[in-house]
């Protein structure tokens, strides 16, 4: 019981340490630079307690749930030996988690608003909703494809820089062709696709795969899945913008 309490204390301590800098920066700018009091100090303190508790639970849950789950799935797929099943799993994981991602939903509706104001799509809420849905589908497919490529790379042991450089050359080539309003959204969509729950699972999956396959190094080959998942959405959204421009005849 005593060791449990001590371990719990260590987790809380780590969470406090992780959060303290952010709280200090906000307090400094509020008090010293903007010279304003905190609007509701009690609420802020309660919020901070929530954040510390939440971070403590999350990190504990990572080590108990998400990490072992990712590695166990990776091991099970390697033992089963079916490449199709593994790649289908990778695609489903990437597509499923991205399509429902709240941050992506927010960005997509924002993108639809921009397109609507620019007159690129028909006016009205229905057209905007359809556009946002299409944008989400493209990004979700991009992440599914990213995980398929990433898993395939781990299996084959391909060097990652070549693939990433090829991807970014694609981005550089497509950027001038895409309409200007989509470019900022495209670059941002790479960052929002990887949610806090997907990232640990995908990292554990990659490391688990690299561990289960002989001749692979868990550090050099196990990481990199998230890098693909941040890159392909940029390419896909730029393509989406280009296709949309051609489709609307301008």
């Amino acid at each position: 019981m005593k060791t449990l309490a001590r371990r719990l204390f260590r987790f809380v301590q780590a969470a406090v340490r992780d959060l303290a800098p952010l709280v200090c920066v906000i307090a400094f700018f509020q008090i010293v630079v903007l010279r304003q009091p905190f609007p509701d100090l009690a609420e802020v303190l309660v919020g901070c307690v929530f954040v510390v508790l939440g971070l403590t639970l999350f990190v504990r849950g990572l080590e108990m749930g998400l990490f072992p789950l990712g590695e166990a799935m990776a091991g099970a797929f390697v033992r089963k030996g079916s490449l199709t099943a593994l790649l289908a799993f990778a695609f489903a994981l990437g597509f499923g988690t991205t399509f429902a991602e709240p941050a992506l939903i927010a960005i997509a509706s924002e993108g639809a608003r921009v397109a609507s104001e620019a007159g690129a799509i028909a006016a009205g809420a229905e057209a905007a909703a359809g556009y946002a849905l299409q944008l989400r589908l493209w990004v979700a497919m991009a992440v599914g494809v990213a995980l398929v490529i990433g898993v395939f790379r781990i299996l084959k042991g391909w060097p990652i820089p070549v693939l990433i450089v090829a991807g970014y050359l694609g981005v550089v080539a497509l950027t001038p062709l895409a309409p200007e309003r989509i470019v900022g959204i495209a670059f941002d969509s790479g960052g929002v696709t990887t949610s806090t729950i997907t990232v640990p699972l995908v990292a554990a999956l990659g490391v688990g795969l690299a561990r289960s396959i002989r001749g692979r190094n868990p550090i050099a080959d196990g990481f990199g899945l998230i890098a693909f998942a941040s890159l392909t959405p940029i390419v896909f959204v730029l393509l989406f913008g280009i296709v949309g421009t051609i489709g609307s005849g301008g």
């Binding site: 906000i26 802020v44 108990m64 929002v192 550090i219 990199g224």
Partner: protein, 261 residues
């Protein structure tokens, strides 16, 4: 009660993140693998911890830090614009926004330190490398990158220079660094670019970008407001590769050498 409703809606958002993961896992587990996973009870408890932790974390952030952070970003942008010549474009100078850059760098650094996804990847890297890549060192390197990135991004919004130039230049530097870095560390460095921008960083940084683009004369929030996140994605890759290079120099041996053999 207002708080209870907010807790529920946040729990729903966390559930939306978790449900597809669990659904995909279950389908493949039942239909394809058909073999029980080790320790299912422990994994279930862990998933509940993750869900409850994410919900509490987000509720706390939205209650305590985000509202202040957002108002702060707006106020800093406004006061900088006003003090620098009352809002007429001719008298405004990028140097009027020094507090904005300072705030951007500080908020980028500290939100990256508090980012749960980054904690997860850093823990995994430390465990996988047998401790040769310390979790805290990696997180500090990423946080420096995010801080520099967000500051550069605000500078771009103030000056109105085109986004693609910066991003393309950033990736060219990353490519050059890749050629001179130990092979084992490169995938991890690339991964940090994606994970550094998540639950904590995105809302505050996006508010800063949109607020700044709305107050700086001659900028449009629609064209210039986006793109800060992109900076926060590229710069950590650079800083992590630089950190590895520096550690290599100081120690005279590759920092990931222990894991490579």
């Amino acid at each position: 009660m207002e708080l209870a409703g907010f807790v529920l809606s946040t729990a729903w958002a966390s559930a939306l993140d978790l449900i597809p993961v669990v659904a995909v896992l279950l389908v493949f587990q039942l239909a394809v693998l058909r073999r029980p996973l080790p320790n299912p009870r422990r994994i279930c408890i862990g998933l509940i911890y993750v869900f409850a932790g994410m919900t509490l974390f987000l509720v706390g952030l939205h209650e305590a830090l985000f509202p202040i952070g957002r108002t702060m970003a707006l106020q800093l942008a406004e006061t900088s614009t006003q003090s620098g010549g009352g809002g007429s474009e001719a008298t405004l100078d990028w140097r009027d926004y020094l507090w904005v850059y300072t705030f951007a760098a500080a908020i980028g650094f500290t939100t990256a330190i508090a980012e749960p996804a980054l904690i997860a990847v850093a823990l995994k890297a430390q465990e996988t490398s047998g401790g040769t890549i310390p979790a805290l060192g990696l997180r500090l390197a990423v946080a420096v990158g995010v801080g520099v990135g967000v500051a550069l991004g605000t500078f771009r919004i103030v000056t109105g220079l085109p986004l693609p130039y910066f991003i393309i230049a950033g990736y060219v530097i990353v490519m050059l660094q890749t050629l001179t870095s130990p092979r084992a560390i490169v995938p991890l460095a690339y991964d940090t670019g994606g994970v550094s921008t998540s639950t904590v960083t995105v809302p505050v940084v996006a508010a800063l970008g949109l607020g700044l683009a709305a107050t700086v004369p001659g900028r449009s929030p629609l064209v210039d407001g986006f793109g800060l996140i992109a900076f926060a994605c590229v710069c950590p890759i650079m800083s992590v590769l630089a950190y590895v290079w520096l550690a290599h120099r100081l120690r005279r041996k590759p920092p990931a050498g222990g894991a490579e053999s």
